[in-house]
């Protein structure tokens, strides 16, 4: 496909996202992601009206407030962000229920949100009760090895689990020469890019797995992109490290690594196993539909309660365990999930119309751009749906998904890579980003603002790397 056409497609998608979709209601073939908590692998087609374009305003307002609040009206924002997020979310919910008479989209999003927060909170609480004592100082080489191992680890316990478990020892090891870039690269590598190899790594890949993408498809098809991406990221990180001239006295350090609260590893294991407790994976698991959650979420919330109740008190104290970071994520994302319903539906609509004309590059950049600020899970499913539309296949049909995977890997690869990688572009691109930021600030590290993060790190570091990946693999 000529590049001008690709650009046109991308532009068209971006414009339609922001401005150009008609406000007139017409039938929408629902293609957004189905909930992790539901038995089905994707939503059954539902016909209802498209939202008016202006209904993406609450989402844009929320994004702007998340970005500007901590900068320009910090104390108002700290005090009132829960009310702001809930209020903007309610505006959209009331619009869907009262104007569009569409309770399906609201319930569907509620189910997604419950799944999201169940997974995040269970990993957060279970890992918060594990203390890793590291009595050594990191060197640039050690940091690189640590981040690489952590990246692999994030495919086993998820980016959230790995982030929560490893951010504290990482900060401790670097305490004498710590700079914000240490944390930013941790977010890039461990909280996002690292988790691109398995469906456990990041929620969109898991949703793809539930939809019918074979478990090992991801590692088979993404490893050769994952490796150069990490090499590039860690090379840039190495140069940051080279210019960090802070000297460290290591004479009193023993080099020992100790663990406390290891029983919480059992709870972490339960959460990972619970991820598969879904009627779509294990047919004899009963669905709790029409409830907006399933047995998986019940298990995860039970882990929240039990792992906190039985946690090692010394580990909790040393980790300064506090529910505030997860509370912040819970409130902000309740607003984000609700306000992004219209945005995602409009994107899904446009993606399905344009699907046949879109190249892999457009899928890569569009999925990436939207995953930077939207939840990457429904974004992934919407673009998967659009890509399958090229072959007249339906994402709600598991056999179709399997057929699609065998027909053409390239679109799914572009979507999978972009959905995971681009989550690192902003603090709100992926759940763990915010938590890592919050933990770091409590440790006294002055983290860059929302804009600084993008301008100082995402654009100069991530974008060129993502462009190289596009040039090599998706052009």
């Amino acid at each position: 496909m000529p590049s001008s056409f690709r650009k046109k497609g991308l532009l068209s998608l971006a414009l339609s996202f922001l401005f150009s979709v008609s406000a007139l209601p017409f039938s929408l073939q629902h293609s957004s992601a189905d909930t992790l908590s539901h038995a089905q692998t994707a939503v059954e087609p539902v016909s209802h009206g498209l939202p008016a374009t202006f209904m993406i305003l609450p989402f844009i307002i929320l994004l702007i407030m998340i970005a500007t609040g901590p900068l320009f009206y910090k104390h108002f924002w700290e005090k009132h962000y829960p009310k702001v997020a809930v209020f903007l979310g309610l505006v959209v919910v009331v619009y869907y229920l009262a104007v569009l008479k569409d309770s399906h989209s609201v319930l569907h999003t509620l189910a997604e949100y419950i799944s999201f927060i169940a997974l995040l909170s269970s990993l957060f609480v279970a890992s918060g009760g594990i203390l890793i004592r590291v009595d050594r100082e990191a060197t640039p080489l050690f940091n690189i090895i640590f981040l690489l191992v952590a990246a692999v680890f994030s495919n086993i316990i998820g980016t959230t689990g790995a982030s929560m478990l490893l951010i504290r020892p990482y900060i401790k090891m670097n305490r004498e020469r710590l700079s914000p870039y240490h944390i930013i690269f941790f977010i890039f590598v461990v909280s996002n890019v690292g988790g691109a190899l398995t469906p456990i790594g990041d929620p969109p890949l898991f949703l793809g797995f539930l939809a019918g993408v074979p478990f090992f498809w991801v590692i088979d098809n993404v490893w050769y992109i994952w490796i150069p991406a990490l090499i590039l990221l860690l090379t840039v990180f190495y140069f940051f490290e080279k210019f960090n001239k802070k000297e460290v006295d290591t004479s009193e350090l023993t080099g020992k690594i100790e663990f406390k609260g290891l029983k919480n590893l059992i709870y972490l294991a339960i959460v990972i196993v619970a991820v598969f407790v879904d009627p779509a994976v294990i047919p004899w698991i009963p669905s709790l539909s029409p409830l907006p959650f399933g047995f998986r979420e019940i298990i995860m919330f039970a882990v929240v309660y039990l792992s906190f109740k039985n946690a090692d008190q010394e580990a909790l104290k040393a980790n300064e365990f506090d529910f505030e970071p997860i509370k912040e994520v819970a409130y902000l994302f309740v607003g984000i999930f609700a306000t992004m319903i219209p945005a995602l539906q409009l994107i899904a609509h446009e993606a399905n119309i344009l699907g046949k004309e879109l190249s892999q590059g457009v899928f890569y950049w569009s999925t990436g751009a939207l995953s930077s600020v939207l939840d990457n899970t429904p974004t992934y499913m919407n673009f998967l749906s659009a890509a399958m539309g090229k072959y007249s296949l339906d994402v709600t049909n598991k056999m179709h998904v399997i057929q699609f995977v065998s027909l053409d890997n390239v679109y799914l690869r572009a979507i999978s890579v972009a959905a995971v990688f681009f989550g690192a572009m902003t603090y709100i691109g992926n759940g763990p980003n915010f938590m890592v930021k919050s933990i770091s600030e409590r440790a006294g590290i002055e983290m860059p603002s929302f804009f600084s993060y993008i301008v100082k790190y995402s654009i100069p570091v991530l974008l060129p790397i993502f462009a190289v990946i596009w040039l090599i693999f998706f052009r």
Partner: protein, 121 residues
């Protein structure tokens, strides 16, 4: 005047009332962390914090929080970096990291920051 070291040695408690802390020592303050807020401006015009030294204690007022108890929870602490009054602030070895835990009946437990707790100078 009670030094920070003496207060720690004697395991003295401070007090907390809503947005006010009363610390049983006097010191040079370099950094205070409440929740995710890092305060380093202790000048008289500072909008976030006000320090007032009395003969035997130091008052700390946090303007942005009506009640510290509502934001500093059970395992959480207000963290300080301070230097003894008679010590050289330019020597990092003199920087003392303290954790303040809000306890019941207005007691404020003061501890040297545990090595396990993340606290970057």
């Amino acid at each position: 005047m009670i030094s920070v070291s003496n207060a720690l040695k004697q395991k003295l408690y401070g007090l907390h009332y809503k947005n006010r802390l009363i610390l049983p020592f006097k010191a040079h303050f370099l950094k205070v962390i409440v929740n995710t807020e890092i305060i380093t401006d202790f000048s008289p015009g500072s909008k976030g914090i006000y320090l007032k030294e009395d003969e035997t204690f130091t008052d700390v007022y946090f303007y942005d929080y009506a009640d510290l108890k509502s934001i500093v929870k059970k395992f959480d602490a207000i963290k300080l970096i301070v230097v003894e009054k008679d010590r050289n602030v330019f020597n990092f070895d003199n920087h003392m990291k303290l954790a303040l835990y809000l306890e019941d009946k207005h007691y404020l437990k003061i501890e040297k920051v545990d090595e396990d707790i993340l606290f970057v100078d």
